[in-house]
Each structure stands twice: as structure tokens, then as C-alpha cells.
Symmetry: C2
Subunit: 243 residues, 2 copies
């Protein structure tokens, strides 16, 4: 078998997420169907570095494709981009060693959460931002963010229906940037639990709005209700998988 | 009658344009229907500074609303934004004198045409850009752009089915900017004919791709076939109406 790494960008708005679902329109299904055509019916196995949830976007998702044939990578990229709708773009296609595993080989992932902090939303970017018209206290958010950085049990920030057995993860960095009306939260970590980035974001925004929440205390409680509401999927983008 | 000026942003992708059509989904219809609800059935007349074509966007369209009542402008803005889909945003609503006319009072309009000059398109911004994978000679485009600036008969850059009787317009400025892979053409003029900005863009891009076209000569010929193909609507945005 030969292996190929696809670097993918996609607008998750109209997808049920990365993962194939029996009755859903998944990114995995869309790409697999296109590959199936390109490879003349060969059964295609496509494995991604991270399962993005329904409505979550990507600029740097990584997926691995295994094939019994040796492929022309430039041609595969061109053919995929010609077949796929504009919501998905194959940014690169490269050959990787046969033992390359997109999940186990990943050292870290980088997610960006974007908030538009203005009275009105913007029609062009609304699908990629959480529109928050009330003012946010960025200093309070930055102080709270620092309490989340490090190696912790993130049970409080993980969806209650998560199948993960171990919930200790290392959040290497949580940076909050502001460019005019757009606030970005950048998360770098060795792994993220189900809805973890969105629940950290929802909690930090609650703190920015003046709610008296203590992230150290929330972590210690190890129960999802300790944290605030999960932020909407639309603002989240998987930016990079670091190998 | 009292008059109000609406400052509008919209994503034109799924609209048939600004202007109401018998079987179309126009921006004008969407806003009129929302106003009809807010004003409890009052017949609403809505007049815009410029009719944007099917698929063309706006960040600074201006429309005037006349009503028999005195309205609370903040409330009208809030109610409209609550009723309208996220593709339309009322950025401001202000009272204007009863004789204010959005078309005749306009001194100039500013349009932006955006091109993504990279091998791959970007899924997040694809609806607002013309994706052009081949390299463009910006110096040649800038030289040609200067030949279009000034007072000219723009018949060669006007859709053949235009109803305009006089086709002399003044193009005050045509600026070409580049920020990494994104090229922007900024047009400021006292008035624009049907598809004029998109036909100037298509012609400048043809020149950027190496076609030997002379804009002075194209202007002199005063016939649409003298210019190159019209650029796609998706890249065009009405940025500002100057009063």
C-alpha cells in the first residue's frame, strides 16, 4: 500500500462534520466519493488527524489516504479540486511513509476561535465567527486563559457524551489576539477532547462578560456543568496539525 | 413623509440582485418584506443608490425608506437585523431630509473587485473573490488602469443590453492593491454603467495574463466586443456611496 497525506481546508457550515455518518453529509464522505471516481472504483480508506464536529471549519486538516497503486500526487490534487464543491479545497497532496499515522504521529494541533465583537455581524464572515455584540473584558479573559494552560484533567470542558477514557491533556498555549473588532483565541495542545475548545471559549467569553468564574476551580471540579455554555461551532477552525 | 437612510451590507451570492424581480429573490424584496412587518403593513418604498447585479455584494449600499410615520431609527435597525437572514445586515439607520435622493445626491461610488491569485481557492472567501490561478503582471495592469481613469465614453465597457442613453462617465480613481495572494481593484467614479466595473476588471485581468489589449483603443472603439470578457459577479462589492 502507498500512503498520501492530504492537507485540507473546508467550510464546515453545510457538513455534519468530518466523520462519515449513515445519513449525513460529511467531509470524509465527499472526499471519499471523489477519490472513488478518480481511482476508478478502488475502495478508499481516509483517516483524518482530528474529527471536526458539525459546523466546524478547517484550514489545516490532515487526512491520510491509502491506495494499492502508486499515485501522481499533483494529479490527485488537481482532480480532487476539480470534482469537489468549493466548500472543500485540497491544499496539498504528498507521499508519506507507509507507517505514517495521522493521529498517532501528530505532536500538536492548533485551533482558532474567532469572535466578532461589534454591534452588528458581518454578512461575509458570519459563517466563521461568533457574533458577540456586548463588550468583552479581554484582560480578565487573558488571566483566566493562563489558568487553563498546562497539563490538566479537562473533564469539566469535555462533552458529557465523550467516549474518551482518559481526559488529561496538555494545553501548550492559549493566546488571545485582537485586531480591531475581531478577537481570536488560539489554542495549541497535544490533544483536544470532544467540544473542549468550544467549552473553554464559552467559559472565557462568560468571564469576559463579567461572570465570576474561576478556571482553576472549574478544572478541579471535573464535571461538565462546572464550565459555561459551549460556544457555537461556526467560530471554530482547525488551523494546523503539527507532526 | 419622513425619510430614513439605511446603510447596508449584504452577501449577494443567493440573491437575484438588489432590484425587485417578479420571480426572483432580491435584496430589495427581503428588506421590504421585513419593513412591512415592522411597520404593521404600511406600504414601503425603498430606493437604493445603485442596483447591484445578481451575485454582487455590498458593504456600503445606501437605501432610502419613506414612511408616513416618524420612526425610532435604532429600533428599526434592531428589528430589521432580527428579522433578516444573516446574509443582510443593516449597519446604520439615520433620518435624512425629506428631499434626500439616494441616486441624485450621490457624488461618487466606490467598488472593490477582489481576486485570489493562488494555485488553490480558499473555501472561506471563495464567494467574494475571483480565483485566478495563473500569475498576473500587476505592472501591466496598473499601466492599463491609468488609461481608464478620467472622463470617457465607456460604451465598450458597458453591457450591450444597457438602457443608459448617455455613456460618458468619470472614473476618478482606479487603484490596484496587493496583499499577499489577494489582489484588489478599487474603482471610484461618479457613476457606473451596467457591468462596467466587471468588464474593466475582466479586461485588466486579460492584460495581466499577457493579452495585448490597449485600453485607450478599446475606449475609442465604443463597442462592447472591443473589451475582454466580463469578470464574475462574486468578486465585486459596492463599498461606499459618497454624498
Amino acid at each position: 500500500m502507498s500512503r498520501y497525506r492530504l492537507l485540507l481546508a473546508y467550510d464546515g457550515t453545510s457538513f455534519c462534520g468530518w466523520q462519515q455518518q449513515p445519513h449525513g453529509n460529511s467531509v470524509q464522505q465527499a472526499i471519499s466519493a471523489a477519490l472513488h471516481k478518480i481511482l476508478a472504483g478502488e475502495a478508499v480508506r481516509l483517516l483524518a488527524a482530528g474529527r471536526t464536529d458539525k459546523g466546524v471549519h478547517a484550514e489545516g486538516q490532515v487526512a491520510v489516504l491509502s491506495s494499492t497503486r502508486v499515485l501522481n500526487t499533483a494529479q490527485v490534487q488537481r482532480s480532487l479540486n476539480a470534482l469537489l464543491a468549493p466548500a472543500i479545497c485540497v491544499r496539498a497532496c504528498t507521499a508519506v511513509p507507509e507507517n505514517f499515522h495521522p493521529i498517532y504521529a501528530a505532536r500538536a494541533k492548533v485551533y482558532r476561535y474567532r469572535i466578532r465583537n461589534t454591534a452588528q455581524h458581518h454578512p461575509f464572515t458570519h459563517a466563521y465567527e461568533w457574533h458577540m455584540p456586548r463588550p468583552l473584558d479581554l484582560s480578565a479573559m487573558r488571566r483566566a486563559a493562563q489558568q487553563l494552560v498546562g497539563r490538566h484533567d479537562f473533564t469539566s470542558f469535555c462533552a458529557a457524551d465523550s467516549a474518551a477514557r482518559h481526559k488529561v491533556r496538555t494545553l501548550q498555549e492559549l493566546r488571545i489576539e485582537q485586531d480591531a473588532a475581531v478577537i481570536e483565541l488560539w489554542f495549541t495542545g497535544d490533544g483536544f477532547l470532544k467540544q473542549m475548545v468550544r467549552t473553554m471559549t464559552g467559559t472565557l467569553v462568560a468571564i469576559g462578560l463579567g461572570h465570576k468564574l474561576d478556571c482553576t476551580h472549574i478544572l478541579q471540579r471535573r464535571t461538565r456543568p462546572a464550565a459555561a455554555a459551549t460556544a457555537p461551532a461556526r467560530g471554530l477552525t482547525l488551523m494546523q496539525v503539527i507532526y
